[in-house]
């Protein structure tokens, strides 16, 4: 598994301060109102402190979504495509576990001389950029569950969703002549049959926990309200399901819940013992980028009034001026 690159963090931090240079009032005035989460929205809580880095979720995800194994070039000598060791999200990998390491890397979930795991896949944004930018509606957000799905039969492969996702999630498979976008769709095919996402199903510790966002939010509150060291029954698989829980103690969490506010909020939430930017999670502001770009388009093109008025004006002037010249072969006008 790849190490989270620390330059990510430096970049993210420098950027966050720089982003303050965009006047928020002006951009809030242009933006359309943010989308609200559906009451039946489903989501995932990924608790980095519970993750042991076994990558059972990565393997299960590949199997459930029929994605090929990935072997980095450096490992092909001994690994003959039997052992997947994807380093990052790609056209063939929807879910990946990465590791943060610092100094002696002795203690888990410590920022200094410690290490920590982080899982990356689609966050199923409440107001997703990918859905907003897609010219043909190949990306759709389910009105009830909030799952962001992708339809390869509609997609034209423009890759605007890859460029525009603030979390760097959708991936285009550049290695194939018939490449398509790869992106976690929350195992919607399994959910349709009443099953739960493969990664949450196989997670041995409950680090990846599936459930309605509302219940996950209450679970987050319980965990963050309890004092570190308190014994706690961590649910596994799906919250509220009768699976034996993982009995452990409450860790020391860093402040905040990643995904609660980022880009207008997401249905996948993160708790961690190491600051989120260090885990390589992008620093993203609260405003949903989709609300700004759509707000600007709606301002300029409201009811198509401005273009129509401009068209009538141009047509009037062009007609008059063409008549003045008779046609384009007439001698130049005296004006000017």
């Amino acid at each position: 598994m790849t190490e989270v690159d620390r330059r990510d963090f430096l970049r993210g931090a420098g950027f966050a301060t720089a982003a303050a240079a965009v006047p928020t009032e002006a951009s809030a005035a242009i933006a359309r109102p943010p989308k609200q989460i559906s009451p039946q929205a489903v989501g995932m809580l990924y608790d980095s402190t519970l993750c042991i880095g076994c990558r059972a979720c990565v393997a299960a995800c590949k199997e459930a979504n029929k994605m090929p194994a990935e072997v980095p070039a450096t490992l092909t000598g001994w690994n003959e495509n039997t052992w997947d060791s994807a380093e990052d999200l790609s056209g063939r990998t929807l879910n990946v576990i990465k590791v943060y390491r610092n100094g002696t890397a002795e203690q888990k979930d410590h920022e200094i001389n410690g290490f920590a795991f982080v899982k990356r896949h689609c966050l199923h944004c409440i107001d997703p950029s990918c859905v907003s930018v897609c010219p043909v509606g190949a990306m759709q957000k389910d009105a009830a569950t909030g799952i962001v799905s992708y339809d390869p039969d509609v997609c034209i492969g423009c890759r605007y969703c890859v460029y525009g996702c603030p979390f760097g999630v959708p991936q285009f498979d550049f290695s194939s002549a018939l490449g398509k976008i790869a992106k976690c769709e929350f195992c919607r095919h399994l959910q349709k049959d009443g099953k739960i996402p493969a990664c949450c199903d196989v997670c041995p510790t409950g680090a990846s926990l599936f459930g309605p966002v509302k219940e996950l939010e209450r679970e987050i509150e319980r965990r963050t309200a309890a004092a570190p060291g308190t014994p706690y029954q961590f649910p596994r698989g799906k919250i509220g399901e009768n699976r034996p829980p993982n009995a452990a103690t409450i860790p020391t969490y860093v402040k905040g819940v990643y995904g609660e506010h980022e880009a207008g909020g997401t249905q996948v939430r993160y708790l961690a013992g190491v600051p989120f930017p260090k885990l390589g999670l992008p620093t993203v502001g609260r405003q949903s980028p989709a609300s700004l770009s759509e707000g600007m388009q709606h301002t300029i093109y409201q009811w198509l009034i401005a273009p129509l008025v401009a068209f009538v004006g141009f047509a009037f002037l062009a007609r008059r001026n063409l008549a003045l010249h008779h046609d384009d072969d007439a001698p130049p006008s005296k004006e000017g």
């Binding site: 690159d5 990510d8 950027f15 720089a18 982003a19 240079a21 965009v22 006047p23 002006a26 242009i30 990052d88 999200l89 790609s90 907003s132 930018v133 897609c134 010219p135 043909v136 390869p152 509609v154 997609c155 034209i156 492969g157 423009c158 605007y160 890859v162 603030p166 979390f167 760097g168 285009f172 498979d173 550049f174 290695s175 194939s176 002549a177 018939l178 490449g179 398509k180 992008p282 993203v284 980028p289 989709a290 700004l292 770009s293 300029i300 401009a310 141009f314 047509a315 002037l317 062009a318 007609r319 008059r320 001026n321 063409l322 010249h325 072969d329 130049p332 006008s333 004006e335 000017g336």
Partner: protein, 379 residues
């Protein structure tokens, strides 16, 4: 009768042969792309899903195609008929700039065989800026061909059709001004979703205005550039008198652009970022220096009077406008996970091939159709 006439020169010259060779090379690489995928030819990657095929061929290429838009605005909307001799060559370069931009989109699309979905109303995604750009550009390509069609109709003697067309030309002309205004500004709006990934030196709510104004300025610059190159290459009488008069307009458009650019940076308190040492900051200054140089040439009488200075001013404007687009789309953008991008040789050869095809078609058209102003062409 028309005062425009074909330029009576040979079609086969060393230049055209080189151009043909470049086009053939590009097509070989494109074949490879269609057989083995985008990754086999281009260096685009998860961090940089868009490379020069999008940014150079489409975003910059269509700005180079704004000659027809810029001249139509001046001649037909602001009624400056004296510039009419520049109209057809301007339309011709627009025709190829846009048509080939559309062609570049097709080979860049990862799932090009489904591209027709853009035209199916039930797939239309009205919130997508790219959807608007795609439809506007397609419509404008059609408009450009119609605007240019009198040249064909004259050449092949379809007087009746030409007369009907002329009666409705005002509608086409109006669309020929409206559509580029819409999609050139939208090429700026396409970046508004990049709020958290684009450097504040480029990310601003004024992106649409900055893109459309610079496209207009680049449109005039292309016309100036082209008129000078064509008259020098074929030893035709110079159009400098006309160009020199027009350049004052261009000068003030460029000044307006710079005022908006820096006024906005200042208002957002983003200017301090322009003093941090980095490649993107360096290019930021190069980009703006080009605009400033062009503005200085065009607003000073001495600059306008000199044919050489005007030509260099046009070149500076084209370079500055191109760099602005390159910076906004690729260089000022921060990819996640430290991906980097530099175009591969095949990728570059394809973009060069597209430009070669454009120049080649331009040469063929001015030699076979009444494009250039007659007095000049017949000499």
């Amino acid at each position: 009768m028309s005062t425009a006439a074909p330029l009576r020169r040979s079609l086969v010259t060393p230049t055209t042969l080189v151009l043909v060779a470049l086009v053939v090379i590009a097509f070989c690489f494109l074949l490879q792309r269609f057989l083995f995928g985008l990754g086999a030819v281009a260096n685009i990657n998860p961090g940089y899903p868009w490379g020069i095929w999008v940014v150079v061929d489409v975003i910059i290429g269509t700005a180079f195609g704004c000659g027809g838009f810029a001249m139509a605005l001046l001649v037909y909307i602001f009624n400056r008929g004296q510039y009419h001799p520049l109209m057809r060559p301007a339309l011709l370069s627009g025709l190829f700039g846009y048509t080939l931009g559309g062609f570049a989109v097709i080979f860049d699309l990862g799932r090009y065989w489904q591209a027709y979905n853009l035209l199916l109303p039930w797939h239309a995604q009205l919130n997508s800026v790219m959807f608007e750009v795609a439809l506007c550009v397609m419509a404008y390509v059609v408009v450009l061909w119609i605007e240019f069609s009198p040249a064909f109709l004259e050449r092949f003697g379809f007087v009746g059709i030409k007369r009907i067309l002329e009666r409705w030309m005002f509608v086409i002309v109006a669309l020929g001004v409206l559509l580029p205004t819409m999609h050139q500004s939208s090429l700026g709006s396409m970046l508004l979703v990049m709020e958290y990934r684009l450097s504040p030196l480029w990310f601003t709510l004024w992106l649409p205005a900055l893109f459309v104004i610079s496209a207009l300025a680049m449109g005039y610059a292309v016309v100036m550039f082209e008129a000078t190159v064509v008259s020098k290459t074929f030893s035709l009488p110079s159009e400098h008198a006309l160009i020199s008069k027009m350049s004052i307009v261009v000068g003030w458009i460029t000044v307006a652009w710079l005022v908006l650019r820096f006024g906005d940076l200042f208002a957002r308190n983003a200017l301090p970022l322009a003093f941090i040492g980095s490649i993107s900051v360096f290019l930021f200054w190069v980009e703006n220096a080009m605009f400033l140089a062009a503005a200085l040439v065009f607003i000073t009488p001495a600059g306008r009077a000199s044919q050489r200075a005007s030509f260099l001013g046009a070149v500076a404007l084209l370079a500055g406008g191109s760099l602005y687009r390159l910076d906004a789309y690729l260089i000022g953008y921060q990819p996640l996970n430290n991906w980097s991008y530099f175009p591969s040789v095949p990728e570059l050869m394809v973009s060069i091939g597209v430009v070669a095809l454009e120049v080649l078609l331009y040469l063929i058209f001015i030699k076979t159709l009444p494009v250039l102003h007659g007095d000049a062409a017949r000499r």
